[in-house]
Every structure is written in structure tokens, then in C-alpha cells.
Amino acid sequence: MQKSTIQFLLINCFLAIVLISCGSVSKNYTPKKLDKTSYTVPYFTDSKTDYVYKTNISVYGNELTGIFIAKKINDTTHRIVFTTEFGNKLMDFEISENDFKVNSIVSELDRKILINTLREDFRLLLKKEYLIQEQFENESADIYKSADGKRDNFIFISKKDQKLEKIVHASKTKEKFTLFFNSENDIFAEKIQIIHQNIKLKIELNYFKTE
């Protein structure tokens, strides 16, 4: 409610976004022999768990905060809800690999460019299974390349503790956005960052335990 002004500012920023294409992704990774053909992400997979995170979304210097909730509602689909700290629902989506449904969205946020961006972000965040075509490595991680339509996802697994560190979503020439994960046990991600490279958009999720 009280957020509507902030939202309005944010939307204007979203609308003002001009996609600047520049540079290219140089892959400084060393090719390596494939050691697996698929990778299963351990996060967001338990249908009994309510995944609840305090969220900061920063768009072109503007901040929007609230609570992000994800729940696996069947084998293929997650429900995603974003509310303010007061609890008012700002967006409510159902998302799977091939489907996307907007259950509700406040009119201030009901913009195609925003919805499409979040749809891509969340689809990747909740994606469970990756088929691997190529493998690389750098100093600290094994890197698995998985085709995603016309684009690719690069999955970074740390060499030190075999945890999923990040997923880079990239076109053939440049990185689009990156998901960073922090996890204690490799089952649950306590902290997640979604950082866009071509627009100034950053989403930070911090898990909180409700007592």
C-alpha cells in the first residue's frame, strides 16, 4: 500500500530501460572432459517446505523490499508470491519450465517488461534439471554448459566443497544475468542474488526462519 509510490518510481525506471548491448563474454575457461550429462539443482525441491525470503530488489538505484515466498505445488510447478513487509500481495505467479501464469499483480507493477524479466529470472531460479553438453573449469570451479533455447546456462560447482555456486545465463556472445547461491548444507540456499548484466537490476533474497 504505502509502497505504491516506490513501485511507481520503480516501474518508471523499468520503462525507461534502454537495453544497451556492449562488450562480449570472453570465456576464460579451460575445456575439460565431460564427467556427467545432467545436473540436478538441490534447492527449492521440497514440496513440504515454505521457502520464505526477505527480499531487496534494486532497480537503477531504487529499492523495493518485501517478502519472497516460493513453494513447490506439484511435480512441475512452483507458486511464487511477493508481498510487502505488511503482507500485501504484490505479485502472485505460477511457474514451471514451460508454463507461466499470473494469478495476480498490483496494477503499479503490471508491466510486460517487468513480468517477462522476472519470469526468466524465476524460471532459472527454480529450474531443477540441467542437461549438460560441455564441461570447463577454472581455478575454483567445475563449469557445466547447458543449452537453454538460443541461450546457454553455465553452472559453476565449487571444487572445494562441490556446492552450486552460481548459474550464468548467457547469449552466445554475452552474459545476461547470474544467480549466486550461498548454502550451508547444499540443500537449502540461505542467500541468493540475481544480478543482471545488461540492465541495472539486482534481486537479493535472504532466507528467514519464522519461529
Partner: protein, 210 residues
């Protein structure tokens, strides 16, 4: 014989159920209740209370619980301070919203936003209990055990988009609000339980900052 016992038990259960339910107030009870609440609300210069907020979403296994402290000072200084499980405060002051999100401070000028003015009035009203405005809401009144309940349905279309209904539960003796329930357009709601309420303690203006 056994059937009769079951029938009897069933009847008892039914009657128990009825007595636990909401009963509509009579016209006389409504005017008495409104008067009681208004007398108390008029005396409120400052108010501070602990609160526990339960966010209920149908698809979740359990409600999302957050808690903290709310402080109000006449005529329109208001602060919600969440302390668990995170530190977040939002202060309404002189046409501004001041936010402190885990130490990160920000301010938004809301100027004379009409919807904001209405929402601010609504928050203050729902905590003090003084929001019996027939122009803004369709109001219905009920009696519960030891409590009174008022249900407010917004008349304004814009407000209705955010809140389908507000339910205020009052302690019968003290005539103050003990629970605020905000129902959204779907069957999801936010329930805020107020406790340890302190009325008219000295509260400095400097509290209302981020």
C-alpha cells in the same frame, strides 16, 4: 438408544458451535459499542504496542510470522518496527515515509497522495479503533465471547483492490483493538495481534525517525 445418544451429543455440539460463533449486534448494541470505542479513542494521545503479524497464504504449510512494536502519536506520527526475524521499520511522518531496512535508510516523499492519506488514516484508525466512517466503509457489527467484532468493507474501488475487508476485534471491557485482520481479494489475509498496549505514555517526537 445409541442413536439417540449420538443425536443428543450432536445437538450439544451444534449448540456449542453456535455460541462460539459471531452474533449480530442489535441497533442499540451497535450505538453503545461505537460510543464506548470513540470515548476511548478520543483519549488516545499516544499508543505503543507489541504486535505479532501472521501472513496467511492458502498454499503455505504455515503462516509467516513476524513481530515487533508499533508506536503512534497524535495527530499522525506512526511507526511500525519489525524486530523478528529481521529489523525493518517504516515511519509515517509529515507526508513522508521513512524506511530503515537492516540499517539501510531511505525516504519517500508521498506528498499529498490521496490513496496514501486514506491508507494512513486507515492504519491509525484500525489501531485506535476509531474508523466508523459510513462514507468510506460498509460496516457490520458482531458479538463474540468477551469481544466485539467490526467488519469494514471499503466502498472505494481503488482501496478495494488492495483490501477486500478489514476486521477489527475489540476487547469488550477496554474497548480497544486487540486484533486487526486484513483480507485480500483472494482468501489470503494478514492477521495482526496487538498486545502489551500502553496508552498515553510519554513518547518523544524523536522516536519517529529512521
Amino acid at each position: 438408544m445409541q442413536t439417540k445418544i449420538y443425536q443428543f451429543l450432536f445437538l450439544i455440539l451444534c449448540s456449542l458451535n453456535v455460541s462460539a460463533q459471531e452474533q449480530k449486534m442489535t441497533a442499540a448494541e451497535i450505538s453503545q459499542f461505537k460510543e464506548d470505542v470513540n470515548v476511548v479513542a478520543k483519549k488516545i494521545k499516544t499508543l505503543s504496542t507489541d504486535f505479532v503479524q501472521y501472513k496467511h497464504l492458502d498454499f503455505l504449510s504455515k503462516d509467516i510470522e513476524t513481530s515487533g512494536k508499533m508506536v503512534f502519536k497524535e495527530p499522525a506520527l506512526l511507526q511500525w518496527q519489525y524486530k523478528k526475524p529481521y529489523n525493518y521499520s517504516i515511519t509515517f511522518k509529515n507526508g513522508k515515509i521513512l524506511i530503515n531496512d537492516e540499517g539501510k535508510k531511505s525516504a519517500v516523499d508521498i506528498g499529498d497522495s490521496k490513496i496514501f492519506a486514506r491508507i494512513n488514516k486507515l492504519i491509525v484508525g484500525s489501531v485506535s479503533g476509531n474508523m466508523f466512517d459510513d462514507k468510506e466503509f460498509t460496516i457490520s457489527y458482531f458479538k463474540l465471547k468477551g469481544q466485539n467484532l467490526a467488519k469494514f468493507i471499503p466502498k472505494d474501488a481503488t482501496l478495494k483492490k488492495y483490501i477486500k475487508q478489514i476486521e477489527l476485534t475489540f476487547d469488550k471491557e477496554e474497548a480497544t483493538v486487540v486484533q486487526v485482520k486484513l483480507l485480500e481479494s483472494s482468501e489470503d489475509y494478514t492477521r495482526i495481534v496487538l498486545k502489551n498496549k500502553v496508552i498515553n505514555a510519554k513518547i518523544d517526537d524523536s522516536v519517529f525517525t529512521n
